[in-house]
């Protein structure tokens, strides 16, 4: 070999073009492949901005005819009070003083009833008319499949959240002095965490409304409503770790 042919300056075949072409092809093909694979095996999307759950608990009762005028929504009756046992006391001596009948004193209703049989008959007749078509107190209006703790005329969402919502709502008292115009825009978020027995582990006003009275009222509503009922097994961990966000609006 001559010295001329071995010169480093002599042009020689190079693989650079091939590498560049391969690199360009790889840069095009790989993203396309990754996108296709991503589409094929993509997990369900995580909602970073979750939609609010509308949860309401329908009350147990008879369905109301939609053509009738609405009745006022009323909270469920309070649970029956535990029977109080009267403390044993020494009976007081009988009062011997005779009461002097006053001018305004009401007459004995029994005597009145005896005097006015006609009025009574009329009253009972009216009562009979009044009862026509009226549900008895034992038949509240709601849904035959409803819940005894329900407070709404329709059922939506997870039952436990409906119950939670109903209990908080019962304590959701806000001062009437908040101006009407301001009420439309008020919105506050409270995040609560619950223990396994439904006790309030943590409560935090995560987003205030800008109105002190309203913010205090929504936090107060949660605190007054606690403790809640024990969460169902499938919600227990989530409610303890992540909690639930309650978004209040008037």
């Amino acid at each position: 070999m001559s010295a001329r042919t071995e010169s480093l300056l002599q042009p020689r075949p190079t693989p650079l073009k091939g590498f560049v072409a391969l690199s360009v092809a790889a840069h095009i093909v790989f993203p396309v492949l990754l996108t296709i694979i991503g589409w094929l095996i993509a997990p369900p999307k995580v909602a970073l901005d979750p939609q609010p759950i509308k949860a309401s608990l329908v009350r147990l009762g008879k369905k109301r005819d939609e053509k009738l005028l609405p009745r006022k929504e009323e909270p469920p009756p309070p649970p029956p009070a535990a029977e109080k046992t009267a403390p044993a006391v020494t009976p007081a001596p009988p009062d011997k003083a005779v009461a002097i009948p006053s001018k305004d004193a009401k007459a004995d209703p029994k005597k009145d009833a005896a005097k006015e049989p006609a009025k009574d008959a009329k009253k009972s007749l009216f009562d009979a008319f009044n009862k026509t078509g009226r549900p008895t107190p034992d038949e509240p209006e709601g849904d035959p499949d409803g819940d005894k703790d329900g407070d709404s005329s329709k059922q939506e969402g997870e039952r436990y959240f409906g119950l939670l919502s109903a209990v908080v709502k019962r304590n959701y008292d806000v001062s009437d002095t908040i101006p009407e115009g301001e009420r439309r825009t008020l919105r506050a978020t409270v995040v609560i965490k619950l223990g396994v027995t439904g006790e309030l582990v943590d409560v935090e006003l995560s987003k205030g409304s800008g109105n002190e009275l309203f913010d205090a009222a929504v936090v107060g509503a949660v605190k007054k409503a606690a403790p809640f009922g024990p969460p169902p097994a499938h919600l227990r961990d989530s409610l303890k770790k992540n909690g639930v966000a309650l978004v209040f609006s008037p």
């Binding site: 078509g133 908080v168 806000v174 992540n242 309650l246």
Partner: protein
């Protein structure tokens, strides 16, 4: 290389809980409750003011209690001395906190020449600070008006809206000789008769405070108007039965009903009764009780064109008629809220009780305001739309009551015994 890998792993681990879905529950339908407010007896600073104290006090108490914003606390529960000072430094706020007050209103009255002067201070009890100080003067005999002025100042402080306490209402009171129309302060006090004998009903207060009404004094019903205490004069008469007038919010037009045989139609005319035009045309049906929308472009009215009396709305020229109520089979006396969003009306429910409801103009959604309190009828909105004046038989005879537009805080006006009907709330 190990440290960056550990860092990346840590970031992934901490990001997972953040991405975990947190349930979000929306809660609305707050129970708006009146603010607990303490209102001690006014302090009279001189003998001249002493005589006016009781009347002033009664009017101020009623205003603040009946407007629905406040729960005026029982004076028997107050712990502070009645002669406690009226400045923040002289007030023991803990005593007011202990009785549950969130606000405290202190008033002082004094004679100022021929005038009665009233000074009012409003305190935030929690913060222990004065939030409002206002002073007004009126002729000595107008102690109630002074109370209304000061109550308006408190109302405006909280709501940023003009209070209703200096507005006027009209109503009908049954008398031995028939029924007469009266105009009075918002609480029914300071009433004066607009009509004089015979049967006079369905008053409407114009923006200039004149009062139009339906009168049977000449046999058939006709419209009359009373201005500034002068004897009422004829407004509309056309040989048929004219009744149920309502003024447009600008006071330039009136709407009323004209009945002829089995048919009644709505008419619109100028406020002086001229230029009457029939705006409904439904042979054999009844159209009555017109009520103007706050922008003066529409009318709410009652019609039985679909078989039963229901509330309808239409343009003021009679075009674009829409039925608004579909629940109940006897809906009447619509009153359009000055805010425009609601129409209050009377309905007979399935128990044959008359009760008050509102219907949302935009959606037709009906809300019940009264329930299980005998018969409640004839609603009329306050000028700011926050209160509704109505009649109720819950106390025996028909009397006047007010409540909030949501049906809360139903309070009787402090009227003498009597039979009161068809109230109308003016400006």
């Amino acid at each position: 290389m190990k440290t960056p890998l550990r860092l990346a792993a840590l970031l992934v681990v901490t990001a997972v809980p953040a991405l975990a879905q947190q349930p979000v529950i929306e809660i609305s339908g707050a129970n708006f409750r009146p603010m607990p407010l303490a209102l001690p007896v006014p302090l009279a600073q001189d003998d001249g003011a002493k005589g006016a104290t009781a009347e002033f006090d009664a009017a101020l108490q009623f205003d603040l209690q009946a407007c629905g914003l406040f729960q005026v606390l029982d004076r028997k529960s107050y712990l502070s001395d009645s002669k406690e000072g009226v400045t923040a430094s002289t007030i023991t706020f803990q005593n007011w906190l202990n009785v549950g007050a969130e606000s405290l209103v202190k008033t002082q009255l004094s004679k100022d020449g021929e005038n009665l002067r009233g000074d009012l201070r409003l305190f935030n009890v929690n913060a222990g600070r004065e939030e409002l100080k206002v002073s007004e003067a009126v002729p000595l005999k107008d102690a109630r008006r002074l109370a209304h002025k000061l109550a308006n100042a408190v109302y405006k402080h909280f709501t940023k809206e003009t209070g209703p306490f200096e507005s006027r209402i009209a109503f009908v009171r049954k008398s031995a000789s028939g029924k007469d129309v009266y105009v009075a302060d918002w609480d029914g006090k300071n009433a004066s008769a607009v009509s004089n004998g015979n049967i006079n009903v369905l008053p409407a207060v114009a923006p200039d405070r004149s009062v139009a009404f339906t009168s049977y004094k000449r046999g058939k019903p006709e419209l009359f108007i009373g201005r500034g205490g002068a004897e009422a004069t004829l407004l509309v008469s056309n040989g048929r039965m004219v009744s149920g007038v309502d003024f447009s919010p600008d006071g330039k037009r009136i709407a009323y009903s004209v009945a002829d045989g089995e048919n009644a139609e709505i008419w619109v005319a100028n406020a002086d009764g001229s230029g009457g035009t029939k705006v409904t045309d439904t042979k054999y049906f009844l159209n009555s009780s017109p009520s103007w929308s706050p922008d003066g472009k529409k009318l709410a009215f009652v019609s039985n064109r679909a078989g039963s009396p229901q509330v309808y709305v239409m343009n003021a020229d009679g075009s674009d008629v829409k039925r608004l109520t579909f629940q109940g089979n006897y809906n009447q006396t619509p009153a359009w809220s000055p805010r425009g969003d609601l129409i209050a009306f009377t309905a007979r429910d399935e128990r044959n009780a008359f009760d008050l409801f509102t219907v949302e103009v935009a959606t037709g959604k009906i809300k019940r305001l009264t329930q299980d309190a005998k018969n409640n009828e004839e609603p009329s909105f306050s000028p700011n739309g926050r209160l509704i004046l109505f009649t109720s038989t819950r106390g025996g005879s028909k009397s006047l009551y007010v409540m909030t537009f949501e049906g809360n805080n139903q309070v009787a006006l402090p009227l003498d015994k009597g039979d009161f009907t068809t109230p109308d709330w003016g400006s």
